[in-house]
Amino acid sequence: MIAVREVSKRFGTSAALDGVTLHVSLGRSLALIGPSGSGKSTVLRLITGLEWPDHGRVEVSGEPVTPSTVAGIRERLGYLIQDGGLFPHLSCRRNVTLVAELRNMDPAATAYRVEELADLVRLGPVLLDRLPRELSGGQRQRVALMRALFRDPPVLLLDEPFGALDPVVRREVGDELFALLRRLEKTVLLVTHDVAEAAALTDEIAVLRGGAILQTGTVHALRTAPADPFVTQFFAAHRNLGAADSQAVH
């Protein structure tokens, strides 16, 4: 569903990505983890067409992402970033419906879809008529998810989606979100620096360092057969979370 093939990307003199290859199959989820500056977010920016690769190619459902195809591809992508990226001047409802309005979608259909989504993310409809800043961080992320899901895209790209939330809410929203995405059979690519989060929520993990992928596999494979000392180190730092993670995975 998502394919990143031998992609390299430089910003000035520094290499952000260096020959990265990734696959996420239909309905599966992959977490990209790694320290900050490892190139995780760049992968998402290449898929969404916010950046273009210097070498290699990026495909979404078999179609290469190019300047001429990107508009169509974006319709198949839901994109959720840290703190939601909601437009502060629009009510939460209008944040969700903005594109529909601009495309002159039938208002009744739009209203129905909003209700459906609010139900799905378990957000009180009253909150939808408030401004984003009048909601809590967790509630804002639910609105942002509604916006990302509005067109029912097959692919969800999540860039540190819980980064701005406090730990308790973070876990709750995270579990709920992934349960939902699994139910909806979305293909998910999650970028996070949090091993526990990655382990708990996704099918597979790719470990990135310095713009290169060190290893891709299930959390079990990475833990039991690390391909690189860095992978061991990275997991060791989060060992105390191991037990809880295993439960969540199985």
């Binding site: 969404t48 916010l50 970033i81 437009f87 502060p88 001047h89 903005l98 594109v99």
Partner: protein, 498 residues
């Protein structure tokens, strides 16, 4: 009499001002005057003389100064105006040495201009001190100043700069005291306060007596004769024979004391030049000086709509051009530098200078004023629009892109609303600047509160100055307040991108 400082650039305005009118008009005698009381009085005197013969007269009152009014008569836009021999010889014709009447007549004749005989008074250049002030007690003649480098003289910019003004005077008498150039109206205030010790004065000036000044003797006869005359286009004698004959008959009939009384009635008693001419020769002041409140209301009523109109139209134009320029500056790396630099440079041109540059191109009146205000309004709007857009967090921009909004949709639905408060801040600055700058409109003949300020400066009348300055300040506050309210509304709506 050489009062009224105007650069040669402004001279061009008079041409532009009068060209159209003069050519299209049915036969009417155009009488010009400079921007000070005595000139207005003499012009009114000539007007009455001409009208008594049934001639149609149009007055072009209070033209910027010697350079402007002379340019106007030279081009044929004005037929006649009052001036002084000394001014004509030095400042206008640039004759060297000590030109006599014959020399001046010859030089004027070459331009098709003629002179009447002297009206009967001269208004010579003089220096004066306050009677009975101990610092300047022993000073009777200009020569006495030579030994007093400690004194401060307040003189007009025109006198300070002209070779036959202060530099020549200082050379002739060996003066070492430092002159301070200031507006003539303010100089009287300054000598009364004791800020200056010596003031430039004119021999028919009403304030000499009222302020208790002593005119210093000019023993070396440095200042030339400043006999008052009318300058007229020689051909006007053929076109308006009766009127010119009546005007020429005024020669020798106007003496210094009458002129000084008229000057006093206008400048000190608040009469119009017309009313001063009608006032009884000996009686008490014929009209009482209007109070500040009634003047203020009058200015608000007559100039308020003009001033507000100038501000509204110019700020609207600045917004219509400035907002798109700000957007372009933000979106195009190539245009950003040139746009921001150009808007900044324009802002550094002094408003009066910009007006003077515009007038030869656009004529006089509302249009050049609007253009000047428009230009000044651009910078705040361009920079704040650019900054407001540039300050939008990249994450929001990118969210909009990935959501699939087109360029145009992003601009109108996301970026401009997010930058709205910054744009409003720019509009606010622009409007407040326009309210203040619009006072220079008076110099281009466009009216507005500046009219009262400029008149008050010419008449040395604080009440009139205030009647223009107070509404300007109040309007600036009101405009600022209105935009602050708009900003609050935007903030409530949640459009804060800060």
């Amino acid at each position: 009499m050489i009062r009224g400082t105007v650069g040669i650039v402004i001279a061009a305005l008079a041409l532009v001002l009068f060209f159209g009118d003069a050519r299209a008009a049915t036969p009417e005698l155009v009488i010009g005057s400079k921007r000070f009381t005595e000139s207005l009085l003499m012009a009114e005197l000539a007007t009455r003389a001409a009208e008594s013969t049934g001639t149609r007269v149009r007055q072009a009152k209070g033209l910027g100064g010697t350079a402007v009014v002379f340019a106007a008569i030279d081009s044929g836009a004005v037929d006649l105006y009052p001036d002084y021999l000394g001014t004509l010889g030095h400042a206008v014709l640039h004759l060297s040495g000590r030109p006599d009447r014959a020399a001046i007549e010859r030089a004027l004749g070459a331009r098709g201009l003629c002179l009447t005989e002297s009206l009967g008074f001269e208004n010579t250049y003089a220096l004066a001190v306050v009677k009975g002030r101990s610092r300047t007690d022993g000073i009777v003649g200009i020569g006495d100043l030579a030994s007093r480098p400690d004194l401060v003289a307040g003189i007009s910019n025109e006198m300070a700069g002209r070779p036959d003004g202060w530099p020549g005077l200082a050379g002739a008498y060996g003066l070492t005291l430092r002159p301070r150039a200031m507006d003539h109206g303010l100089a009287y205030q300054a000598i009364r306060d004791g800020t200056i010790d010596v003031v430039e004065a004119y021999s028919t000036d009403a304030k000499i007596e009222r302020f208790g000044l002593r005119v210093l003797t000019d023993d070396r006869h440095f200042f030339p004769s400043y006999d008052a005359v009318f300058v007229y286009r020689c051909d006007a004698k053929n076109r308006f024979p009766a009127a010119l004959a009546r005007i020429m008959a005024l020669a020798g009939t106007v003496d210094s004391s009458r002129v000084m009384r008229w000057n006093a009635q206008v400048e000190l008693d608040g009469l119009t030049p017309e009313a001063a001419l009608d006032a009884p020769a000996d009686g008490a002041p014929g009209g009482s000086r209007a109070g500040l409140l009634s003047k203020l209301l009058e200015v608000l009523r007559t100039q308020g709509p003009t001033h507000v109109g100038l501000v509204l139209v110019s700020v609207a134009a600045s917004a219509i051009v400035g907002i798109p320029l700000g957007i372009l500056a933000e979106r195009s790396r190539r245009w950003r530098g040139p746009i921001l630099a150009a808007a900044g440079v324009v802002q550094t041109i002094p408003s009066l200078a910009l007006l003077c540059l515009l007038i030869p191109l656009l004529g006089i009146g509302t249009l050049p004023t609007l253009v000047a205000l428009f230009v000044y309004g651009l910078l705040p709007i361009v920079t704040s629009t650019h900054q407001g857009l540039a300050d939008i967090p990249p994450a929001l921009r990118e969210s909009a892109i990935v959501l699939g909004l087109t360029d145009r949709e992003r601009l109108t639905s996301v970026e401009l609303p997010l930058a709205a408060r910054a744009v409003v801040a720019g509009l606010r600055t622009s409007a407040v600047i326009a309210v203040g700058t619009a006072t220079v409109a008076a110099f281009a003949g466009a009216g507005g509160f500046g009219q009262a300020i400029s008149t008050g400066l010419n008449l040395n009348d604080a009440t009139t100055i205030l009647s223009g300055a107070i509404p300007t300040a109040l309007l600036a506050l009101a405009v600022g307040g209105a935009f602050t309210a708009l900003d609050r509304a935007l903030e409530r709506r949640g459009g804060a991108a800060r």
